[in-house]
């Protein structure tokens, strides 16, 4: 959303139209941009509607439950270095991934001071160690660890997970002094489902019409969904979709190479720009701030809201490398996604010092190679911009695909 020129502007036929469209489209995008510019300081904006904001580390926290308790759930996102490097905290070694280092640095510099509390899910070794350090560094009255099972199948897994969700509910009830009723939870699930369904529509639209919305713009909108009220976000997303749908007939289709992206985080955003600027788009992904988030919706249908929460989280977990995965058919998920999206290659976003995908990568790449699907791993680091090397890698990779 950083003042990217709309490709249609290059074509004089669309000049008049683009002026009209740009205003409308840009007005909506500007609203999202305003939120992202100050995701935590801006919490005050929504204060009247909530008891406060509760932050959570990525990924896999039952936001719906936090919402049902009357709080605004807010994902703790890495600071956008804005093209510069950050040093991280002096007491976190650089063998820790830059997401964790960035967030801890923000803790120390009081950037989350307006949050009522924080929930940390244990999804990797770094989150395990830093959950204890966080407890020491922050002064929140509300701080809790969410202990997700690290496997999705097995005797007692569902029962345990349910118990953990119930423990989280009790924790929230004790904090607020009010009961967290099933009806409230169901209502929150519906609100969240609606938001995710709207985002799915926008994603499909973006993939079909990349000239109208860039990859970075789309993923920024997903990111926004994790820091602002879902009701408002759904409204803005629907508004944007309506504007874009109205215009699609008048904008010529442009050929973009479709790719599948694999990784925990898609940042730094410059990587998405490089892909887009080379006439390629991400048509499917498993990012935590992407499909692994928006694909996790499910109905309540008057049923058990805890079962719905679990199913949603299990769906997210199976798209993430941090849990025990079945030993056979490694790569089946990616291959299926490639087929579904008609992608011509896969890009692995390997966050430096995040071990989870790094262990999976060679076998996933081998599965793709067997089907002659080109794959590329780019090493990403949120604390340093090394887009020069990544740009060269991606351009060469896309040239190979174009030539195939």
């Amino acid at each position: 959303m950083k003042g990217r020129s709309w490709p249609a502007l290059a074509n004089p036929v669309f000049l008049d139209l683009s002026e009209v469209i740009t205003i409308t489209r840009d007005v909506v995008l500007e609203k999202f941009d305003t939120v992202l510019k100050d995701p935590y300081g801006g919490i005050e904006r929504w204060k009247g509607s909530y008891k406060g904001s509760i932050g959570y580390f990525l990924p896999h926290v039952p936001e719906e439950m936090i919402h049902a308790a009357g709080f605004l759930p807010v994902a703790l996102l890495a600071r956008d270095p804005g093209g510069t490097s950050f040093g991280g905290s002096p007491f976190i070694p650089n063998i820790c991934c830059s997401y964790m280092r960035s967030v801890i640095e923000m803790v120390v510099s009081q950037e989350f001071a307006k949050l009522a509390g924080v929930i940390t899910p244990i999804v990797c070794d770094a989150s395990r160690v830093l959950s204890d350090m966080w407890r020491n560094e922050s002064s929140f009255k509300f701080y809790e660890v969410f202990r997700i099972p690290r496997k999705v199948k097995g005797i007692g897994v569902r029962e345990y997970f349910r118990g953990e969700l119930e423990r989280m509910r009790s924790f929230l009830e004790n904090y607020t002094g009010e009961p967290l009723r099933d009806e409230d939870l169901k209502r929150s699930i519906e609100i969240y489902n609606k938001n995710k369904e709207t985002l799915k529509k926008l994603y499909r639209f973006q993939v079909e019409h990349p000239s109208l919305l860039t990859t970075r713009e789309f993923f920024n909108i997903v990111k926004c969904a994790m820091v602002m009220p879902k009701e408002v976000h759904t409204m803005w997303t629907a508004e944007l979709l309506a504007v874009l749908e109205e215009e699609q007939e008048r904008i010529p289709a442009t050929e973009f190479i479709r790719l599948v992206a694999v990784g925990k985080l898609w940042e730094p955003p410059e990587v998405l720009d490089i892909i887009y600027d080379n006439r390629a788009i991400i048509a499917g992904d498993n990012f935590c701030v992407g499909s692994a988030y928006i694909e996790s919706s499910g109905g309540v249908d008057g049923g058990d809201p805890y079962a719905v929460l679990m199913d949603g989280l299990f769906k997210q977990m199976t798209m993430f490398s941090g849990y025990l995965s079945p030993r056979r058919d490694k790569g089946a998920g990616i291959l299926k996604l490639i087929e579904k999206t008609s992608a011509r290659g896969a890009v692995f976003f390997q966050l430096k010092f995040c071990e989870l995908l790094a262990y999976d990568y060679p076998d996933l790449r081998a599965a793709l190679e067997k089907r002659n699907i080109p794959a590329l791993a780019v090493e990403t680091d949120l604390s340093a911009v090394s887009s020069g090397r990544v740009k060269t890698q991606l351009e060469a990779f896309l040239e190979i695909i174009k030539g195939s």
């Binding site: 820790c96 160690v129 007692g156 119930e166 262990y359 790449r365």
Partner: protein, 411 residues
């Protein structure tokens, strides 16, 4: 009696060559003897496997041998060439590289696993690493998932979850072996395991004696049976002999480091590829590493024979979670008193995030509270490409100057 002035090696440690050799020979011939092989991690409840006559194999121990023989660059390099990142645990890289290349310092290499078993109270890395092995050998992997509670008291739900996984593990192994679980034999194994853990606890505790009859390096060398053969008579007998020799050394005031001047704590895993240089450097400074928490983990793995699964669930959910910042600070402060420490060395181990990400905080907090100086050194538990011995020793030289000036002030 005066403290002996020349270094006397611990003779019992010489038995390990034969003990470890026999263990690997038995493993290599497992199939010939119709025995199954399970690849497990260091904190796995190995007693269950011994009760089922299954041979446990420890990829971590194997990787440590590779690293001690300085074969890491060559073998880890094989894994890296396959696309595994150099940022991964160097144990994992050595193990995966060895599986790909069949290179191993163990004659005949490791036998293929019939299954893998893993307890993730240790770390999460192991799950991903073992998944790689599980796929490579097409062998099932059983994960005992331990929710992390840090310093908090685990709830009933977590405990039930862990206990039910032990029940499931028994079913899994019964199906795999086609045999019913022998509960009587299991109790016998548990009994031996408990006695062995007790002696191991006693041995580690001898570091409190002045002068210390053993160093942490001796403990690292001595730990292979408590890890891999816990619950066997072989391990029990070895530690009995070791205890007897160490008791005699205490009686005769034999110092592990003759002229012991400094008593230091070591945090984290050793640097397997540089054990001797480290040991020689510290000996030259008359510094004895007489305390650590790493080898302590295996003192806690015995289970109550009356309620083994409940007791293991409690251990893995609570006792082993001493490895969190608050617990680590508390324990180190206690050890400074108990072990009469002059200082502490925190190994910021590139390969072990669980024991390293809070290293700087640990040093700062303990120093602030106790006034005892500590140092953080950046290294790796076995990949000599990732750190410079000379740089580490250079930093330690400066640290010893601080220790010396502190010592002079207090004397």
């Amino acid at each position: 009696m005066e403290s002996k002035s020349s270094k006397q090696n611990i003779k019992t440690l010489g038995l390990l060559k034969e003990i470890d050799g026999n263990y690997y020979k038995e493993a290599v011939h497992a199939r010939r003897n119709n025995r199954l092989v399970g690849w497990v991690n260091a904190l796995s409840p190995v007693e269950i496997l011994y009760a089922m006559d299954i041979i446990p194999i420890y990829p971590e121990n194997h990787a440590a041998i590779i690293q001690a023989r300085k074969m890491c660059p060559e073998i880890a390099g094989v894994a890296e060439a396959e696309g595994y990142s150099t940022d991964l645990c160097s144990y994992a890289l050595c193990d995966i590289g060895s599986a790909i290349s069949a290179e191993s310092p163990v004659p005949g290499g490791l036998p293929r696993p019939d299954f893998l078993m893993l307890c993730n109270s240790q770390c999460g890395t192991l799950t991903k690493w073992f998944e790689v092995n599980s796929r490579r050998f097409d062998a099932p992997l059983f994960l005992i998932d331990i929710p992390y509670w840090g310093g908090k008291k685990p709830d009933k739900n977590a405990k039930n979850y862990v206990v039910r996984q032990f029940d499931e593990l028994i079913l899994f192994l019964e199906v795999l072996t086609g045999k019913s679980f022998d509960w009587d034999k299991f109790k016998e194994v548990l009994d031996i395991s408990a006695r062995t853990c007790e002696i191991w606890d006693y041995i580690i505790g001898l570091g409190r004696v002045v002068p210390s009859p053993l160093t942490v390096f001796d403990q690292f060398v001595a730990m292979s049976p408590i890890v891999a053969q816990r619950g066997t008579v072989t391990a029990l007998e070895f530690y009995r002999k070791l205890k007897a020799e160490l008791d005699l050394r205490v009686e005769e005031k034999v110092a592990a480091v003759p002229g012991e001047k400094y008593r230091l704590y070591w945090d984290n895993l050793p640097t397997w590829c540089s054990m001797r240089p480290f040991s020689e450097f510290l000996s030259a400074k008359k510094a004895c590493l007489n305390a650590n928490t790493y080898t302590w983990g295996w003192t806690k793995l015995a289970a109550d024979p009356q309620r083994p699964f409940e007791s293991w669930a409690e251990t893995h959910l609570s006792a082993l979670s001493l490895f969190y910042l608050g617990g680590r600070v508390k324990r180190l402060l206690e050890m400074i008193e108990e072990y009469k420490l002059n200082g502490f060395i925190i190994h910021l181990n590139r390969s072990c995030k669980v024991l390293s990400l809070d290293a700087i905080r640990l040093r700062d907090e303990v120093e602030n509270i106790s006034g005892v100086p500590g140092i953080v050194i950046e290294a790796d538990h076995g990949d000599q490409r990732l750190f410079s011995e000379s740089q580490v020793f250079g930093r330690l030289e400066a640290y010893f100057e601080i220790l010396e000036s502190k010592k002079q002030l207090t004397e």
